[in-house]
Symmetry: C2
Subunit: 345 residues, 2 copies
Amino acid sequence: MATNSEIAKAAGVSPAVVSRIVNQDASLRVSAETRARVEKLIDEMDYAPNAAARSLKSSKAGALALVVHDLTSPVYAEIIAGAQRAAARHGKALLLGEAADLGDGQSPMERLIGGGGVDGLILQGAGTQMDRALARAARRSVPVVLLQSGDAKGTTLIRMEDEKAGQLATEHLLALGHKRIGFLGVAEGLPFSDRRAAGWRQAMEAAHVMPTGDWRGVGGNTYDKGAAAIDRLLNVAPDLTALVASNVVSAIGVLARLHDMGRRVPQDFSLIAIHDIALAAHVRPSLTVVKMPLRLLGEEAVEAVCAEQTASHEAITISSEEPRVIKRDSTAPLNAEPADAQPSS
Amino acid sequence: MATNSEIAKAAGVSPAVVSRIVNQDASLRVSAETRARVEKLIDEMDYAPNAAARSLKSSKAGALALVVHDLTSPVYAEIIAGAQRAAARHGKALLLGEAADLGDGQSPMERLIGGGGVDGLILQGAGTQMDRALARAARRSVPVVLLQSGDAKGTTLIRMEDEKAGQLATEHLLALGHKRIGFLGVAEGLPFSDRRAAGWRQAMEAAHVMPTGDWRGVGGNTYDKGAAAIDRLLNVAPDLTALVASNVVSAIGVLARLHDMGRRVPQDFSLIAIHDIALAAHVRPSLTVVKMPLRLLGEEAVEAVCAEQTASHEAITISSEEPRVIKRDSTAPLNAEPADAQPSS
DNA sequence: GTGAAAGCGCTAACAC
DNA sequence: GTGTTAGCGCTTTCAC
């Protein structure tokens, strides 16, 4: 690979000139011929400035790290898509990782982060040990933003209106006449999941229905865990008629399990999930959901991490795009046949 | 952030000693006290070697770039998961990008790649202009591996047994008595998709069924495109009884559309898709698929790109894990009621 | 047992 | 209009 000074030598100029031409330095005054000669050489010799040298000089890596719990989840895929767009706007590449890859302190990603190999770190943080360790490790050198996390100990926090989402979902079901409405969280102690649970409880109590602990289950964020969770839940609370699921992937597992046990959705049981992903519209029955600004969450996280010169360790709630119910076919009035019956098997 | 020489100064030693302690240089002979003193300082001052400086010195970036067409696809998620595991084994972080982000030559990722900011580049390449531009740009400085691509012009190629997958899928349907079996590709001219189509055609001809061009459609890799494609296909070839779908996401779109048009799967129509993802088991009816070694593909790609000192520009086909049919509920004998009827809506 | 020195490739300030 | 210089932080050979 050609270097700056090789180009300079070949063109008969100094490295400084080459550098300033490459970087489009407006204050550079060179003859048209010199410029042309250098540009021709750059092209012919395939010169591109060395990233490491540049980064060493400028203390800017040109990359951000985004660590989520599960790269394969379509929910995080939305966040990632948003983050990537925003990162591109800021001229940054995105280093993606999974929380499980971290924690030992020796992973390639952590080494990169600790050594200034990224200009910022975004953690989709569940408050686990690993994230904490990483956040601590990174805070000393790099701005950190926590997504959907709980506590803001000197770190910027970005969250969505989770409580409202739980509330809207529940109110949708209440409006359809349901009273015995269960709630399926992701995991106990997960801040965003707990906030959605709080929204559910609040809506229930406002409707003068007092939910019991038995109406609440833990559904994880995979198809299988969702399926297992609805089994457990209907075992202890068999007379539930509807469910708010905090994770849409888990909800699709629930849907499959309900189908297999012969509970018809939505005739016998209504299901609403939080988060709108493309898949939700393409399962059958299609899933009614509360749409949340996932892409925006990713974008805002990048903005925050890039703006963090001044270390404004605050909690930001994305409110420019309100959570809203997208009505599809998995919810229906209590004890009613579906409005528009479809040809079904 | 503390630097090497700050630690050295504080410890009253030279930077060389600090460096060799950090890097666990076995040939280093220091007194136990000195070592302890330095290690204590490293800990207290939160020292971590600067990634850029290290990379500049060693000409190793500690990262690989993986560019796929769609980061949100669960199919690529499998590949990514495999790549990440292998990358971690090699001590490399993974820089992920989408093909669409590239191409202008100015994207952050391309700058990083061009300037040696990654130690290798893996392109899930569809032979589009962008990929080509990128591959060319990168080849001069970094080993490149193309995934599922067609032509090997001086670049290492990794592919799976796509033709066999198409064949197996078709044979599964033929064995169930189907004759009028359609094929849904991803896009015309996509090498891996065309190879699967070739497998389909071959199996059909071996069974003395001559498929017509009308039995073949283009289904893209999204739910919506799959749904639209089956509409078109059944319009021109209404008497198809089964379909091989080259993309599992697209296939789920097909499934939804078939449900909506009142075609019962598998009683009226059988559907088999290529690639096994978790979702395939959790749609209803669950999808019969041909499982392909997606994770292995990701792993092998990383291995190849890391081994490419000697630039062994060959075509590698992953054959250690054979494609195989996973029978689920979306395929059944022609004109037969399902073996074990389930309670259904 | 430990230190000195050189240089990876680049850029910014200043010199001419 | 263009060149010189210094130094970002690290490693590594060789010297003591």
